[in-house]
Amino acid sequence: MPLLKPHITVDDLRAGWGTRVLLEHITFQVERGTIFAILGGSGSGKSTLLRYLIGLERPQAGGIDIDGVGEPHLYEGVPRFGVLFQSGALFGSMTLAENLALPLTRWTAIRGATARELVQAKLDLVGLGPFAEHLPGEISGGMKKRAGIARALILEPDLLFFDEPSAGLDPISAVELDQLILTLSHDLGITVIIVTHELPSIFLVAAHCIVLDKAAKGVVAAGDPRKLRDESKIPFVHNFFTRSAPGMSAHKGG
């Protein structure tokens, strides 16, 4: 029975600072074990919404419920989810292995050989096994992101957030990253929330999505991204999924 409950429930969330409202009336649910995408153009508030979902900001109104436990509270016990930040956000003065071991030493009593084994297994999972002793500055951008995923996985969360995972990656690295996300979701049963605007990646991985729009300050469409692409009557959503600029079709005709 508890498995049927949504993993994340966002109810009428309002985001902003002071009198400035960035997003409002945000309501959606994410089912357990699925890949859910938060879409929208630059400046539409996707990354802002992510900051609220992971508890870095407090909503002005409305609520976020993760796992039926309530709002994501920071630094109160073991974190219930992992986050991959846009740049990977690895700590520059630590090797990849040390970066991964950090949450372990904070939240568990695991030390020594066992810790090394767990760290190595996560690095192997993302294909970075040979680079355990490298510093973040010594590896490429795509590798940093994969290392960031490995670190997000170290505390065995059942929920992962990705902030623009394929931004700044070449097409092949981006596809590899998408495959990794699919693997994590299918093989490990992890619920994945992706913030992105990369269409190929959306159609490949996401089963459900919401589309945010700057002008509407909120959700303009929700559902299966492929269906939205084919059936949506909303001009912004249609343009977004078909990569066309407003007025482009008229231009072609004339």
Partner: protein, 374 residues
């Protein structure tokens, strides 16, 4: 061929013939040519622009001609580009005419002085709020660090003490030595007239141990470590490392702020103490060079003057100076939002505030001592 626009008038019709290279390298001349041509068009109803004799045109030249056409159209003159045979030039000009957005909105950040003062004043409550918020979080984090030691990055403490203390030793030592020498010189030159040179060692001890030592060391640390810590944490903030820490359940205040403040609270007293010793050396050197006092006599008087009051009243201040430098630098670092420019702004603010706080705290202690008669 030089850049020019020839205007041939036939009644109320004019034909503008542009000649020469209309490109970035000749843009100034082209702009002047456009201006001159425009001046000749008074009273014209229709204008043809002939591009056939253009030697070369690029975006810069096209913009100038496009704006000329815009102005002619706006002035009610019918302007027409004769695009044969130079179709490419005509297309280039047309593309700049199509993409003409309205005048840019006046950005609100350009403010007159009064508005600026008003805006600054309006920010005061939120700034104070930020500061109190941070102080509150620190007040929670320090006791929590004692209860849950794992929430603090203790491993970084030795490195921080090394960077803040040991690596700063040279500059604080040199400064203290020189300040001691300055007091010595001043003392000799001023007290000589009264025949009380014997009091110079006492003056060095009292002035330096009680006030100048902590002040000089604190100010150097505020500049050196305040900037270092603020920029380090600000960079971590803008590169999402602080967010990553939070997402992994670390409280950045415990993890980053506690060790840095501790390192400063340990390093500043030690550096001040060493600085006191060096100031005595400086004072001694200066005194025996410019007066007849012997080194032995100087040391005798100085040792006599070093009583617990003089010695500890200065040192007691120093952990507080270190703590305030650390809190200000870390606080400013953590408040950083935005990109590289924000790191610079926050670092500057951190150094200014830290320097000021060192002076204010030193003064408060001195007033307090005067009040209770130490």
């Amino acid at each position: 061929m030089s850049v020019a626009i020839r205007a041939d008038r036939e009644g109320d019709h004019a034909r503008l013939v542009a000649t020469g290279p209309f490109d970035l390298a000749h843009a100034t001349m082209a702009a002047r040519a456009v201006e001159n041509a425009e001046a000749l068009l008074a009273g014209c109803g229709s204008v043809d622009v002939d591009l056939a004799q253009l030697e070369r045109i690029d975006g810069a030249g096209a913009v100038l001609l496009a704006r000329l056409l815009d102005r002619l159209d706006a002035g009610g003159r019918h302007a027409r580009v004769i695009d044969d045979p130079n179709r490419e030039a005509a297309r280039l000009i047309a593309s700049y005419r199509e993409r003409r957005a309205g005048l840019p909105e006046r950005p609100t950040r350009v403010m007159n002085p009064l508005t600026r003062i008003g805006a600054l004043a309006a920010e005061v409550p939120s700034k104070a709020n930020e500061a109190f918020d941070f102080i509150g979080r620190c007040a929670v984090a320090f006791p929590k660090a004692a209860v849950t030691p794992r929430s603090v990055d203790w491993r970084s403490l030795p490195r921080l003490i090394q960077e803040i203390g040991a690596d700063g030793l040279l500059v604080t030592s040199a400064a203290n030595l020189l300040i001691g020498a300055i007091i010595g010189f001043l003392g000799v030159s001023q007290l000589e007239g009264f025949g009380t040179i014997a009091l110079v060692p006492q003056m060095v001890v009292v002035a330096h141990f009680r006030d100048l030592g902590p002040l000089v060391t604190g100010m150097i640390m505020a500049g050196r470590s305040g900037a270092g810590i603020a920029s380090e944490i600000a960079t971590m903030k803008v590169s999402e490392e602080v967010d990553a820490l939070q997402s992994m359940g670390f409280d950045p205040v415990s993890w980053l702020v506690v060790p840095r403040c501790l390192a400063l609270a340990i390093a500043v007293p030690l550096l001040t103490w060493l600085g006191d010793v060096l100031a005595l050396v400086g004072g001694l050197g200066a005194t025996i060079v410019v007066s007849h006092m012997t080194a032995g006599a100087f040391v005798d008087v100085a040792l006599n003057a070093i009583n617990p009051n003089n010695f500890f009243s200065g040192l007691v201040k120093t952990p507080f100076l270190g703590l305030s430098i650390g809190l200000i630098a870390c606080g400013q670092g953590l408040l950083t939002r935005g990109g590289a420019a924000a790191v610079g702004t926050r670092t500057t603010t951190a150094v200014v505030l830290a320097l000021f706080s060192v002076i204010v705290i030193s003064a408060l202690f001195t007033f307090f001592y005067a009040l209770i008669g130490i």
